[in-house]
C-alpha cells in the first residue's frame, strides 16, 4: 500500500514501455447483479424462519401437583412415545398449591388441545405389575398424552397424577369380574389366556353399599374375541400353595403372575363357536382354575353330622368326599353337650352339591329338578343303603382330615334324621379313632410289665456275679495255669495218639485196614449168599444143587 504521507504524484516516473490495454465498450448497467445475493438471503432466511414458526403448534397450560422432574425447554411431551411437544415454562399457580406447566405442542398435533385430552407425568414407578417408565431414569420424566376425541379446543388442562390404564382408542374390550376378594391383584396385573398375556387389570372397585368387589379387566386387541359368554375367569395370583387333605398342591401360572398376581381365563370345552361377549359383560372371578372350570353346582344342600370324637385336623372348607368325588365342603363345626351320655359330640355342618353326582342322581331321582325335597329324598335313599359319614385322615403327614361319605358294611341300621330341618347323616367312628382304643390297650398292657423290677433284679445279679469273680481271681489264675498245663499234656497225648492211630503206617491203622478188607469180603460173600438164597430158597432144605451143565444154562431164557 502506498504511503499516505508521501503520495507519489501522478504522471511522474512513467515506465517508458507501458503497454497498451485492450479497450472495449463498457456496458451501461449501473446496478450490479450482486443485489441478487440479499434477495436470496431474504428468501432463505424467511423460509427458514417460517418453517420453524410453522412447526410450533398451540401453547397449553397443564396443572400438576408437583413439577418434579419437569424442566423447561427439555421435558418432552410424548404421545405413544413420539415427541409431540416440549415444556416451555414451569411456574406455581396463584395459590401456590399446584404447578402450571406451559407446553408447546407441535403443529401436527394441534388437534390434541381439545377438551377430553389427558396429560400425566411419566416418572419411573415401581408397582406390583413391575417397573414402568424405566427409561425415564436416564431421560428424565416426560409428559404423556392421551389424545381426546372432542372438537372443542381447550388451553388449560388439569394433569392426571398417574397414567390412565386404558388409552382412548386403544383397541380391545373391557369386562367386569365380580370377585370374592382381590388377592394379590393390582391395577396393571396381567390377564392370561393359555399362559399368554392378553390383557390387564385396569381397576377395581369395592362397592361399600352392596359389599361387592368388582375388577375391571381390559383384553387387548386382537384377543378380545377369546372372551365368550362361556369364558371362566379365575385368580391366577401368585403361588397357589394349598395345604389340604389332598396334600401340598402348588399351582402357578407364570413367573410374572407369581410376583405380580394375575387373572387367567379359559373357555369351557365345547364353547369354541360362541360369539365374543360384548364389552362390559360381567363374569365371576373364581378362586382357582378347578373351581372355574367345574360344572355348575346347582343349589347347595346343607347337611349335618355328629361325630363322637375329636375333629382335630378338620377345618372349615375341608372336602366332603363321596367315593372319591368331592361333593361339598365343611362349613362349620360346633361342640354339643349330650346330657344323657355326659359326652361332648361335635356337630359338623357341610354344604354338599348333589348335582355333582350327575348321572347317579338322575338315575335315582329320574331327573327330578335340583334342590330341596328331591335331594333329601336322594340322600335318604343313600343312607338307607348304608351311607355313613366318617372322619378320615387325608394326609398322615399333616393329619388334615376330611369327611368321607361312604357305604360302610356291618353298621347298625340308621336313617336320615330330619329333626330341626337340616338332614343329619349318621356317622361311624373314623378309622383312626377306631384304632386309637386298641393302641391304648396295647400300651396299657405294656405298662403292666414290671420293667423297673426286672431291671433292678438284673442289676443286682450282675453286681453279685462281678463280686464273685473278683473274689475268685487268685485261685482262678492258678486254676487257669493248671488248665493250661493239662491242656498241654492233652495235646501231647493227642499227638501220640495221632501217630499211633491215624498215621497210615501205624499198626492200628494197618490192622484196621485189613480187618475192613476182611469185613468187605465177608459182606460180599454174604450178599452172594443172600442172592442165591433169594433165588433158590429150597437150598436151605435141600442143599445146594450141582451146577447144571453149560448147555442148559440158556434154557430158561
Amino acid at each position: 500500500m502506498s504511503d499516505p504521507t508521501e503520495p507519489d504524484p501522478a504522471g511522474e516516473g512513467i515506465p517508458p514501455a507501458a503497454a497498451e490495454p485492450v479497450v472495449r465498450r463498457r456496458n451501461a448497467t449501473r446496478l450490479s447483479l450482486v443485489w441478487i445475493v440479499p434477495i436470496v438471503a431474504v428468501v432463505v432466511g424467511a423460509s427458514l424462519l417460517i418453517n420453524t414458526l410453522m412447526q410450533a403448534g398451540p401453547h397449553v397450560m397443564i396443572e400438576f401437583r408437583t413439577a418434579e422432574g419437569l424442566e423447561p425447554g427439555k421435558t418432552e411431551v410424548r404421545y405413544k412415545e413420539v415427541v409431540v411437544g416440549r415444556v416451555e415454562a414451569v411456574s406455581l399457580s396463584d395459590d401456590r398449591k399446584r404447578v402450571q406447566v406451559g407446553v408447546r405442542l407441535d403443529r401436527a398435533v394441534s388437534n390434541m388441545a381439545v377438551e377430553d385430552t389427558n396429560f400425566w407425568v411419566v416418572r419411573p414407578r415401581i408397582g406390583m405389575a413391575g417397573i414402568s417408565g424405566l427409561n425415564t431414569l436416564l431421560s428424565g420424566a416426560y409428559i404423556g398424552v392421551d389424545a381426546g376425541n372432542s372438537t372443542r379446543s381447550r388451553k388449560h388442562f388439569v394433569g392426571l397424577e398417574a397414567p390412565p390404564f386404558v388409552l382412548r382408542n386403544e383397541p380391545g374390550r373391557s369386562f367386569v369380574l365380580r370377585a370374592p376378594d382381590l388377592g394379590s391383584l393390582d391395577v396393571g396385573s396381567p390377564v392370561y389366556y393359555r399362559r399368554t398375556r392378553v390383557g390387564r387389570v385396569v381397576g377395581y372397585t369395592l362397592d361399600p353399599v352392596n359389599d361387592e368387589l368388582t375388577v375391571q379387566v381390559f383384553i387387548e386387541s386382537p384377543y378380545e374375541p377369546l372372551v365368550t359368554q362361556q369364558a371362566r375367569f379365575w385368580n391366577a395370583s401368585g403361588l397357589d400353595l394349598q395345604l389340604n387333605a389332598s396334600g401340598l398342591t402348588l399351582n402357578a401360572q407364570t413367573v410374572s403372575s407369581v410376583i405380580a398376581g394375575g387373572i387367567a381365563f379359559e373357555r369351557l370345552p365345547g364353547s369354541e363357536g360362541l360369539a365374543a361377549a360384548p364389552a362390559g359383560t360381567r363374569f365371576y372371578l373364581f378362586d382357582d382354575r378347578k373351581a372355574a372350570l367345574a360344572p355348575p353346582d346347582g343349589p347347595a344342600l346343607t347337611i349335618r353330622m355328629v361325630f363322637d370324637q375329636s375333629v382335630r385336623g378338620l377345618s372349615t372348607g375341608a372336602p366332603v368326599d363321596f367315593l372319591g368325588i368331592e361333593l361339598g365342603t365343611v362349613q362349620s363345626m360346633q361342640l354339643l353337650y349330650d346330657a344323657r351320655t355326659q359326652r361332648y359330640p361335635m356337630e359338623v355342618t357341610a354344604d354338599i352339591y348333589p348335582l355333582r353326582l350327575g348321572k347317579v342322581r338322575n338315575a335315582m331321582l329320574q331327573g327330578a329338578p335340583a334342590g330341596g325335597a328331591a335331594d333329601i329324598r336322594f340322600l335318604k335313599q343313600l343312607v338307607d343303603s348304608g351311607l355313613r359319614a366318617q372322619l378320615r385322615t387325608g394326609n398322615l403327614l399333616t393329619s388334615q382330615q376330611y369327611v368321607a361319605l361312604d357305604f360302610t358294611p356291618r353298621t347298625p341300621q340308621a336313617t336320615l334324621d330330619m329333626s330341626n330341618g337340616v338332614p343329619r347323616v349318621p356317622t361311624v367312628p373314623g378309622t383312626l379313632s377306631e384304632l386309637q382304643p386298641q393302641i391304648a390297650e396295647i400300651v396299657a398292657r405294656l405298662n403292666k410289665v414290671p420293667f423297673d423290677e426286672i431291671g433292678r433284679d438284673l442289676q443286682s445279679t450282675l453286681s453279685q456275679a462281678r463280686a464273685a469273680i473278683r473274689e475268685l481271681s487268685p485261685e482262678a489264675q492258678k486254676a487257669l495255669a493248671e488248665v493250661q498245663r493239662t491242656l498241654g499234656s492233652v495235646q501231647a497225648s493227642l499227638q501220640r495218639l495221632d501217630r499211633n492211630l491215624l498215621d497210615e503206617s501205624a499198626p492200628v491203622q494197618r490192622n484196621v485196614e485189613q480187618t475192613m478188607t476182611e469185613l468187605q469180603r465177608a459182606a460180599q460173600a454174604l450178599r452172594a449168599l443172600s442172592d442165591y438164597l433169594q433165588r433158590h430158597p429150597e437150598t436151605l432144605l435141600r442143599g445146594k444143587r450141582a451146577d447144571p451143565p453149560l448147555a442148559d444154562r440158556e434154557k430158561p431164557r
Binding site: 504522471g11 503497454a19 497498451e20 446496478l31 450490479s32 445475493v37 438471503a41 431474504v42 427458514l48
Partner: protein, 203 residues
C-alpha cells in the same frame, strides 16, 4: 492525463488512453480486466452486508445443532449454547464462543457499514484510522467460522447411532452464510475508495 494500470493478474503495467470513461480496459497480455477501483465496490459491499444482516436473524433464532442421545434430542441455538457453557462454569469457552460467533460478525457488519457509509458521506474523515480498521476487518475474516467448524467436526465424529448423535440444523447454514457474506463484503470493499478525493467521480 494518462492513467497507468497494473494488471492484478500478471503484473503488466499498461497506460490507458485518456478520454472516454465508458470503456472497459483489459490487460493486453492476459486479458484480465483493468480498473481504477473494484467495479461496483460499494454496491457489492452494501448488498453483501444486507444479505448477511438478513441471515443473521435466522442464524441466531434457529438451532444450529441437535445433540441426541438414547432418550432425548436437544437443540442448541448459538445463544443457548453460550448460556449453557456459562452455566456450567466454562466461562473461558463461553467467552470464546461469544466473541467468535456473536461479537465478531456483528462488529464486522458494523465496521463495513461504517466504512461504506463514510466513503459516500464523510470521505475526508479520519482516513488513516479507517484504512487500519479495514485491515483489521479483513484479517479477522474467517475466524468467525469457528462455530461452523466445531459443529461440522462434531457431526462428523459423534455418530454413534442411537447412543449419541450430533447433527447440524438449518441455523448453522444461515450462520455459515452470514460469515461467508461478511467475508465477501470485506473483500468487495475497495480500500482505495477511502483515499478518493471528494471531487473525483465515484464508480
Amino acid at each position: 492525463m494518462t492513467a497507468l494500470y497494473g494488471c492484478e493478474c500478471c503484473g503488466l503495467v499498461s497506460a490507458a488512453p485518456a478520454g472516454d470513461a465508458q470503456v472497459q480496459l483489459r490487460c493486453p497480455r492476459c486479458a484480465h480486466p483493468l480498473h481504477d477501483e473494484k467495479p461496483h465496490s460499494l454496491q457489492k459491499t452494501w448488498a453483501y452486508l444486507a444479505a448477511s444482516v438478513l441471515l443473521y436473524i435466522p442464524a441466531n433464532a434457529l438451532p444450529v445443532m441437535t445433540t441426541s442421545n438414547l432418550f432425548r434430542d436437544t437443540s442448541h441455538t448459538i445463544a443457548s449454547g453460550i448460556a449453557e457453557l456459562w452455566a456450567s462454569d466454562s466461562w473461558g469457552l463461553a467467552i470464546i464462543v461469544f466473541v467468535a460467533s456473536i461479537a465478531v460478525p456483528l462488529l464486522k457488519i458494523g465496521t463495513l457499514a461504517l466504512l461504506a457509509w463514510s466513503v459516500q458521506y464523510a470521505p475526508g474523515w479520519r482516513r488513516f484510522e479507517r484504512a487500519r480498521l479495514y485491515r483489521i476487518v479483513e484479517g479477522v475474516g474467517h475466524w468467525s467460522m469457528l462455530d461452523v467448524y466445531v459443529v461440522v467436526l462434531l457431526a462428523g465424529i459423534v455418530q454413534f447411532g442411537r447412543l449419541a448423535n450430533v447433527h447440524p440444523e438449518p441455523g448453522l447454514l444461515a450462520f455459515a452464510a452470514v460469515v461467508v457474506l461478511t467475508m465477501l463484503a470485506a473483500r468487495s470493499f475497495d480500500p482505495r475508495l477511502i483515499w478518493r478525493e471528494p471531487d473525483e467521480p465515484t464508480p
